[in-house]
Symmetry: C2
Subunit: 473 residues, 2 copies
């Protein structure tokens, strides 16, 4: 008998699941229907800042697999069709065609909930005006690029007098996390004077403040005005209804353009309405096979979930987290699709690895930072090392600072943070691998890492930090 | 009672051991004497190609710690003093002052043998002529730079007629391993036309031939003439006694300069003469604490060894190898010094990680290649993936090819090889860490590696290779 797999959300997690299931089971065994509110599939949301910044010329380049490609694999893809209700009892979903308004119920044997996340957009005055942008989806990116084009055009958006045409445009980015940082780079590349308004004492609160201070200084060198410990309270609009400034608890910041980088939260209203239990971060909870579980941890029949709408287990703290990242979404999809296709796969959890850059400054972290380690009730010690990413005697060797946290007593590695120049950040993977295997810093010291002068000092800075921490344990 | 530590060889392993021991035990507890044949200490031999190539201006920059710095820490450093005999029975060494010829016996409680390695220089016609160089020590590098300067000078070395002055100089590099490759880059940077003569079908035999072919093609693009499967048999000399060509089994290759990159072997004549047992590669054998052991594996009293003169255990094959690398030497020194200083440290072994580049082409390997896996009696499968080192939609994303070997049945990762552009090779550390913890490819797939478009595709190419291999196991 043919089973029916229904997927809600045709991006990384959903379509990875569908593709992997299809690879293992043909259309005669498994019918697959995927509902997607938007018009595109399987695109790189992480690539949007580089498109907005002008490095990527066309949105099409961010699309890994088109609707046609999915359909050619025997997936019934319904674009611009929103799932409006989920009925787990009767195993069916209700969908609505966004163009015709027509609704219908579709029964399923297996349902993959891959509804993603939505950007945080505070209900504050002016925050929903034109010219105030998020950069979460391709349409978001397109709207932002349209605003940039309008501001560039002579007599275009916000052009109120002749003098303004000569002065550089000003952008205010609100939020100092990954999205905020990446959007600062994007608008810098578009020639804007940029102000970053953020809540914490230093940007990138995923890293400890002493590392964030390095990022702040790097941004200052790029000409970014950084306004810390400030809460944006209002976007002030000009006579054209577009931004003229952002008001924050620290003052008023002139703006022709406002970009919100206030993070995302799981898009789980549908699941909540269906009575599915959500975790503390508002995401669905799953087991390792990515089956949706109830509050007791028991899998609910026929329900799977993955990507930005789920919470994942952090292997270092043991706690659940919401981590919206394309790489996890893809892995979730692989796991779901493998299991649906008759195989066995498990997603073990995350260790909290993240990486970004702002222009030439590379930033990465994995594991727990000080605040997180303390919150997890761990007794930790930290080591900070300033070194170079390549042998220091080579011209152009990039500086890098490494911070490492380890558990007192056991010596278990707890976390790693890196800020530096070219070649610094991707070695965060050393930390990610060590955390994945539960290594102690004493074990880390003797890992056989690659050494040659153009790639590393003879003691990799990560190993130097491990030595320093080991001496304190 | 004051103990006496004697060190033979004042480079990475020896002086790391001395420094670490000194950090833990003051001069009243531990007297330290170090004998060094040469005039410099603690320098980066790995940096010599970049000095010869002109990237590093002065030899001094390659020196991590000077004799004066060591002496300031209470180490009695005897430069230009060669140890000529070792008497383990009576725990003493005989040394000879190379300037005065004076000899003396020095008693020790603990002896660290850190005599390093010596470059292979075949006893073939012309191989010891001036203008035929190795690049193993700082004096070697200086001699090579002197030859380069002489060849550059009008009417200088090898200048036989007016016409020759206008044509570019030709260098033949013999040997296609790491040193050979790095010296090819160095002489290319000095403006030479370069011919690489090597024995194997493809350069870099540490990687499988299909990966070596990528390196060969990269070198061809750089204008290097690659002569494979050729044995150099003679350096033909001109009337000035300097090279005019290299003769090989493949023909005659014009040369103004010849560089030997035929590898190194442990410098253990002293140990051999003292009756210490050597391994199959001619290196000393030690236990994990870096104590010299006899053929039965029993530590010999008071004897320690580390660096390029020892063999190390390969954690994947379980066999002993000779791996001359500064990073291992430093770790050996740390282990020896910690143990001599009253601590506990162990060097677990290596997984065979190595990295290099030739101009913009990055090359790395870890674990076992096909030949080594077969020799170790393993049943393996391989996966090759062509991808990019960054998100493919970013302009300038570098190509990279990954080859992964895994054990059939168990799925244990056996080895990883990478060839590619900027940002490709250092992720070999992912493989090194996985090998260090004995991960399977199924486990590797779900490691939480750093992802952002400027640093990686959403599936890191290493993970794609792991997926591909997992599907075959």
């Amino acid at each position: 008998m043919t089973e029916h797999l229904v997927v809600i959300g045709a991006d990384a997690a959903g379509m990875s699941a569908a593709s992997q299931a299809r690879r293992r089971r043909g259309p005669e065994e498994l019918r697959i229907t995927a509902f997607e509110r938007g018009s595109v599939t399987s695109y790189s949301a992480c690539g949007i800042p580089y498109w907005v910044g002008g490095e990527v010329a066309e949105a099409d380049e961010l699309i890994a697999r088109t609707p046609e490609q999915h359909r050619a694999r025997g997936i019934d893809l319904r674009l611009r069709t929103e799932v409006t209700a989920l009925d787990p009892e009767r195993r069916r979903v209700r969908s609505r065609d966004l163009d015709t308004g027509a609704q219908e119920w579709t029964p399923y044997d297996h349902l993959v909930i891959a509804t993603g996340a939505e950007p945080v957009r505070p209900a504050l005055p002016g925050f929903d005006a034109p010219g105030v942008h998020t950069a979460h989806t391709l349409p978001d990116g397109r709207a932002l690029l349209d605003t940039l084009a309008g501001l560039r055009a002579p007599g275009g958006l916000g052009e109120t007098d002749g003098a303004a045409a000569a002065s550089p445009r000003r952008a205010v980015v609100i939020g100092g996390g990954y999205i905020g940082i990446e959007m600062v780079e994007a608008v810098l590349r578009q020639g804007y004077q940029v102000t970053l308004v953020h809540r914490t004492p230093e940007p990138m609160p995923g890293l400890d403040p002493q590392m964030g201070a390095l990022i702040r200084r790097g941004m200052a060198k790029l000409g970014v005005e950084v306004v810390p410990e400030a809460e944006a309270t209002e976007v002030l609009l000009g006579p054209d209804g577009r931004p003229r400034a952002v008001r924050s608890t620290a003052g008023e910041h002139p703006a022709d353009l406002v970009v919100l980088g206030l993070g995302v939260r799981p898009r789980t209203a549908l699941a909540r309405a269906a009575g599915l239990p959500l975790g503390v971060h508002g995401g669905l909870r799953t087991d390792e096979r990515m089956r949706v579980v109830d509050a007791a941890g028991t899998p609910l029949p026929g329900l799977w979930a993955g990507g930005d709408c789920v919470e994942v287990r952090h292997l270092v703290s043991g706690q659940h987290r919401h981590v919206a990242l394309g790489t996890h979404a893809n892995k979730h999809g692989l796991v779901i699709g493998t299991n649906l296709g008759g195989g066995e796969a498990a997603f073990p959890g995350v260790v909290g690895t993240a990486i970004t850059r702002i222009c030439d400054l590379e930033i990465a972290r994995t594991g727990l930072n000080e605040r997180e380690a303390t919150a997890a009730g761990l007794d930790w010690t930290a080591a900070v090392v300033e070194s170079t990413a390549q042998a220091g005697y080579l011209p152009g060797a990039a500086w890098m600072t490494v911070k490492l946290l380890a558990e007192r007593g056991s010596g278990r590695l707890l976390g790693l943070q890196i800020v530096g120049g070219a070649g610094a950040a991707k070695r965060i993977d050393i930390g990610a691998m060590a955390l994945g295997s539960g290594l102690t810093v004493q074990e880390l010291i003797f890992q056989d890492l690659a050494y040659a002068p153009p790639f590393s000092p003879v003691w990799d800075p990560v190993l130097v930090a491990a030595r320093k921490a080991a001496a304190r344990i």
